[in-house]
């Protein structure tokens, strides 16, 4: 059957059909023979890497893979696991757990947790070191919930020019969820923080093959005890009302609303109160940004060795067009609803604007329901491509502190803090 079909699809056969099939216009079909038996344009595989120019795609270019408890996601690396969330999952304000991006640092990540043994320890410079089981966390403390965006510090790293090494994320190293758990301050109070303490350090179940004392052996992050962000920090054992997938930090992870995900330690098992500021690799060397406006610098300035750096903290304001995504052609004259999301680690997003003329004029979008200061905020705007053509839709958000997304890129050696105005090309074809 297949071989007959193949024979019949040959050009000579088509010519015969064209001649015999009165009333049927077959000339264009014959011309399309080459693509006829091949995959459609939509299924054409993406290149396996992007660069040295900026990655032009919304997501990173890796293949889809399935990992335990996850929907097919875009592979960055398999050991440790780094997976990116495809764009279409951002149609909803809350990102499904199975689609939530994954980023681990050390290769020995947990495959299994035995809750009969597992404890969350609160130790260090405290009056009474504590060890809580998951049922302790669920029963001994009043649950607190917060809607908050978790975004990798290196989200959109593949946009930087010149390119920098690291996880080559597109825009999908982010997600929004309702996190439910215990307030960190309550756990610290239960143990009793001794006066004169400086920071709280967190560590999860992941370990690495590197030598002891090096960044490749343990992943440790710390925040000042006086940091106001700790007031909103929770140890979450529920993500969108369900247990966390192991790849997202089962049985509990730290949630620091407004802050980049580097502090949101997964499979959190140790909370340590430190007397002196943490100078481990992950605080002193990694996850640092230039102490400049927007954290931007240049390769030339970096070479001087004089650029002062500070630990990365809050997420700058960002917004994204989610649909239409440019994967389909739109008939000119058709009313289209542009939809997307916005967020800021500095405060509520209170304005989203769109432009279809290269940023000369901006039109306010309608904002969706307010789900919390550090949640995604949905937005939509009506738009009609009046005539056939290639349109570039730009989206920019403003937060309540007055931070507006700029149109200038960011560059730093870590590939952090990207928040340039996003653009999407949309093609309108003729309607008749």
């Amino acid at each position: 059957m297949e071989s007959i079909a193949r024979k019949l699809s040959r050009r000579s056969t088509l010519k015969f059909l064209g001649a015999a099939g009165g009333g049927l216009a077959l000339a264009s079909w014959a011309q399309g023979t080459r693509s006829f038996a091949e995959a459609s344009d939509g299924a054409k595989p993406l290149e396996s890497f992007a660069g040295p120019g900026a990655n032009p795609h919304w997501n990173s270019v890796g293949p889809y893979v399935t990992e335990p408890q996850k929907a097919p996601l875009i592979l960055l690396t398999d050991r440790p696991v780094q997976l990116e969330t495809p764009r279409h999952y951002f149609h909803t304000i809350f990102t499904p757990n199975e689609a939530f991006y994954v980023r681990w640092h050390l290769a020995e990540i947990p495959n299994s947790v035995d809750l009969a043994e597992w404890k969350l320890r609160v130790e260090g410079n405290v009056n009474k070191p504590m060890a809580f089981s998951l049922s302790d966390l669920m029963q001994k403390f009043k649950p607190a919930s917060v809607a908050a965006v978790n975004q990798c510090s290196g989200n959109s790293r593949s946009r930087l020019q010149p390119r920098v090494p690291g996880g080559q994320w597109g825009n999908g190293a982010m997600g929004n969820a309702i996190w439910t758990g215990v307030r960190l301050r309550e756990l610290l109070d239960a143990a009793g923080v001794k006066s004169g303490s400086a920071q709280v350090q967190v560590e999860g179940l992941d370990t690495g093959a590197g030598p002891k004392g090096m960044g490749s052996n343990r992943f440790l992050k710390s925040l000042d005890l006086t940091n106001a962000a700790l007031d909103g920090t929770i140890v979450a054992y529920l993500m969108n009302g369900e247990p966390l997938p192991l790849l997202n930090g089962f049985p509990a992870r730290l949630v620091v609303p407004g802050y980049f995900a580097t502090y949101w330690t997964k499979s959190l098992s140790w909370i340590r109160v430190l007397e002196t500021p943490d100078d481990n690799f992950w605080m002193k060397t990694a996850y640092r940004i230039p102490d400049t406006p927007r954290g931007t610098t240049t390769p030339e300035d970096m070479k001087t060795g004089k650029v002062k750096t500070i630990p990365i903290e809050r997420m700058p304001v960002r917004s994204f067009l989610i649909s239409p995504d440019g994967s389909s052609k739109i008939p000119a004259g058709l009313d289209v609803t542009l939809r997307g999301i916005a967020f800021s680690g500095y405060g509520k997003v209170n304005k989203v604007e769109i432009s279809d003329d290269g940023g000369s004029t901006w039109k306010a979008a309608e904002l969706g329901e307010d789900r919390g200061t550090y949640s995604f905020r949905g937005w939509q705007a009506a738009w009609t491509p009046k005539t056939p053509g290639r349109y570039s839709i730009a989206v920019r958000a403003t937060d309540e502190k007055g931070n507006v997304q700029p149109d200038e890129p960011v560059w730093n050696p870590g590939g952090y803090l990207w928040n340039k105005i996003e653009r999407q090309e949309l093609v309108a074809g003729k309607a008749n």
Partner: protein, 138 residues
């Protein structure tokens, strides 16, 4: 319609259906590619016990094909100790100086125990196959 033209018409209709689709001026339909490189298999639902163990099994490996050449063996054995070689294939084409800095970072910042001669070989391999002037699709 004459008997002969009826036969021709029927033949054409059947032939077109076999060819994979009916085509009129206003549409094209029934075109399927011969391969499907984008498919992935579904995973089966696990069977759970009632104990307190939460086990997801092994994480899958997706080992990339590395460029053939001198140094590949060293990359596979040394770099692979701490991470998948996907870390290499995931990178954009990077200039030679950046690759050198990366290998140094792995040794100095992360403590990778790589002998100096091997490190040089690894650096040369990366520069030869993963730089803007020589990076290829695999």
């Amino acid at each position: 319609m004459s008997k002969r033209s009826k036969i021709i018409f029927t033949t054409v209709v059947i032939a077109m259906a076999l060819a994979g689709g009916l085509v009129f001026a206003q549409m094209r339909s029934g075109s399927y590619g011969s391969t499907n490189s984008t498919s992935i298999g579904q995973g089966a639902t696990p069977v759970f016990a009632l104990d307190a163990k939460y086990d997801v099994g092994p994480y899958p490996s997706f080992v990339p094909e590395l460029a053939e050449g001198d140094g590949r063996q060293e990359v596979q054995s040394f770099c692979f100790t701490c991470h998948s070689t996907r870390y290499i294939t995931m990178q954009p084409p990077l200039p030679g100086a950046i690759w050198e800095a990366e290998v140094n970072k792995m040794m100095k910042a992360y403590g990778a125990p790589i002998p100096e001669a091997t490190a040089k070989k690894i650096t040369a391999y990366l520069q030869e196959h993963y730089a803007p002037e020589n990076r290829k699709e695999y």
